[in-house]
């Protein structure tokens, strides 16, 4: 068995700085969008007093959810002792940290008063899920940071499974918290469900694995490092089972809502009559983001191939964004019943289905956060030994030998 060696990215100057420059440009565009929105106020966006959370939130929540799932490969190696996942474990930790940073950057940049971020860090209402999440997010950085250090530092590697377990528990709590941001909103008929916490946990597994696979495949290709068929097939199977689990949770969530008569209106809006939202749900979330990736991952011709796994991962990410759009925007588009049983109308758009068209600054702010996450990963793999010299089964420790301690 070859020794498992991790090494910094060795791509030449242009192969490294070229893509980084493109990402830097997108981050700069995102920053410009942030300044434009903050100077003029949010009236220059597609958001208003009916749709208070928009496209930036769709991307931010997607990234935050995916960040926790990006740790899957490391968790499978450390917590569940599947050592064949070990070569990519450090990259998995790094991607989860960078993706969380990208998501939080979008959220912070969209605040009405981003200059008061220090207020958010010094004044806490502990009944607020948002306030609790601030601790969960900062704790995630600390725990995964330590976990990453333990994985990379040979003298500390014997503690890495313990750190991995702590990170695993923490991220389950973190994503439960993110889902509960919506789940506890009893005023909105699309939410008001305790299932949203665990549903987001399952979504995080598939979105994070998909996002991680895109990054890992790109990084290995970037530096022309080997990835053998067995590893690719294994990662593909992991993505497949998690994608199937996401579809299951989607079905359970909507079936429980459909069981309650008072939710029939919102459910028929989101799943059948709401225009863009049923389209995004059935074609985006379920079709492109669930059924098609499963077909690709299990079809004999594409099963276990690098192109097949990459295509499935890209589709799962797109499906995840569609899901967040339906969950966040669709829920606000549906009018809140203030006088149930009465038809309502007002100059403040009561009783109406609210329209939303994302503006260009919102799109750039969102893409800026994605680019920031990607740029951080790029710098990370350049300066830290995160990528395996080769990602093959022969470079992994023997998978079943009992004395080997998981890292």
């Amino acid at each position: 068995m070859a020794t498992l060696v991790h090494r910094e990215l060795s791509a030449g100057a242009w192969r490294f700085y070229g893509p980084l420059l493109v990402l830097g440009g997108l981050v700069a565009a995102g920053f410009a969008a942030f300044l434009y929105m903050e100077i003029n106020g949010h009236h220059v966006t597609g958001m208003d007093n009916q749709m208070v959370w928009g496209l930036p939130h769709v991307f931010a929540v997607f990234l935050i959810v995916a960040a926790s799932g990006a740790l899957n490969v490391a968790s499978v190696a450390s917590v569940f002792g599947k050592l064949e996942y070990k070569p990519l474990a450090p990259l998995s930790g790094m991607v989860s940290l960078c993706v969380l940073a990208g998501g939080l950057a979008i959220l912070a940049a969209d605040l009405g008063r981003p200059d008061r971020l220090i207020v958010a860090m010094t004044h806490f209402n502990f009944k607020s899920i948002f306030a609790l999440n601030m601790f969960l997010y900062s704790g995630f950085f600390a725990i995964v940071g330590v976990y990453l250090w333990f994985m990379m530092e040979r003298r500390m590697s014997r503690y890495s499974s313990m750190a991995g377990l702590a990170a695993f528990i923490w991220r389950i709590v973190l994503t439960t918290g993110t889902g509960s941001i919506f789940g506890f909103l009893v005023a909105r008929e699309a939410y008001d469900s305790a299932l949203l916490g665990p549903t987001f946990v399952i979504y995080s597994f598939s979105y994070g694995t998909a996002l991680f696979l895109i990054v890992a495949l790109a990084a290995l290709r970037w530096d022309a490092r080997a990835l053998d068929g067995a590893q690719t097939a294994r990662l593909g199977r992991l993505l497949a089972i998690l994608t199937a689990a996401s579809l299951y949770m989607t079905a359970v969530f909507h079936l429980t809502k459909l069981y309650v008569t008072r939710y029939h209106g919102i459910e028929s809006f989101l799943l059948a009559e709401g225009g863009i939202y049923p389209l995004l749900f059935w074609v985006g979330q379920v079709g492109l983001g669930g059924v098609l990736p499963l077909a690709i991952l299990y079809a004999p011709r594409s099963r276990g191939t690098r192109a097949g796994v990459l295509a499935a991962a890209v589709l799962v990410v797109l499906g995840g964004l569609a899901q967040m759009y339906v969950t966040i925007i669709g829920a606000q588009a549906w009018p809140q019943p203030i006088f149930p049983g009465w038809q309502e109308s007002s100059r403040f758009f009561d009783g109406e289905i609210h329209a939303y068209a994302p503006s260009v600054p919102e799109l750039f702010l969102a893409l800026g956060g994605v680019a920031l996450a990607a740029a951080l990963v790029a710098v990370g793999v350049k300066v830290l030994p995160l990528l395996p010299e080769s990602c093959t089964d022969s470079s992994s420790p023997p998978p079943t030998s009992p004395p080997a301690r998981p890292r």
Binding site: P114, S128, Q343
Partner: protein, 244 residues
Amino acid sequence: MSGNPRRGFLGTAAAALAGVALAPGIRLIELAGARAPGEPVTAKVRWGMLIDTNQCATGCTDCVTACNRENGLQDTGRPRTDAQWIRKIELKDLNGGRQHSAPVMCQHCAHPPCVDVCPTGASFKRADGIVLVDRHTCIGCRYCVMACPYKARSFVHENLTDQKPDVPRGKGCVEGCTLCVQKIDRGDGITACAEACTKAGHGAITFGDLNDPQSAIAKRLRELPNRALRADLRLDPGVRYAGV
């Protein structure tokens, strides 16, 4: 010592004069249910409103206009992003077609969801039941807007000019009906919307202390069948509705 009779007389006269001078003020404070300056807000009072939709006229927006004037809310020509502290909702019963009109504003819940979700504690409830936003600690996350069942919160989408000195507002913060807290604190004893509604001759809005059994609002609440909006959520709002 028998003391100086003239000094005694002067003392008594001064005390009587002070009493005569202060008594109306003290009586006024009592009448208005207001606090003396410097006195903290207490839970002895719970401010609230009763909206009688049988008295509320369809098409009349005097309460909205009065609120906007009192609190310095301006029409920018962009209704989707303009702040709206009070609005008139036109209602039609889905069974039978009965029609009503009702002003809706922050319901000043005893258990406000906006206060629960606010990460910094900027959304808060005063001891006297008024739900407010601290403009110094609001970070503009809009979680309270998402959480409010009454659509009572607005986010300030653009720069503000010509603000009222006693109604602090600001771009990037969330705001909503304050029950004209500036008027209550100076002892007016009525909100701008209730004042305008009375002036228009409708008398659909009664404002007062829910804790005082002798108050006009308490008496009307006893007389008229009334309910809380979205009573299923059990938020115990300070604003009640009769007629719908």
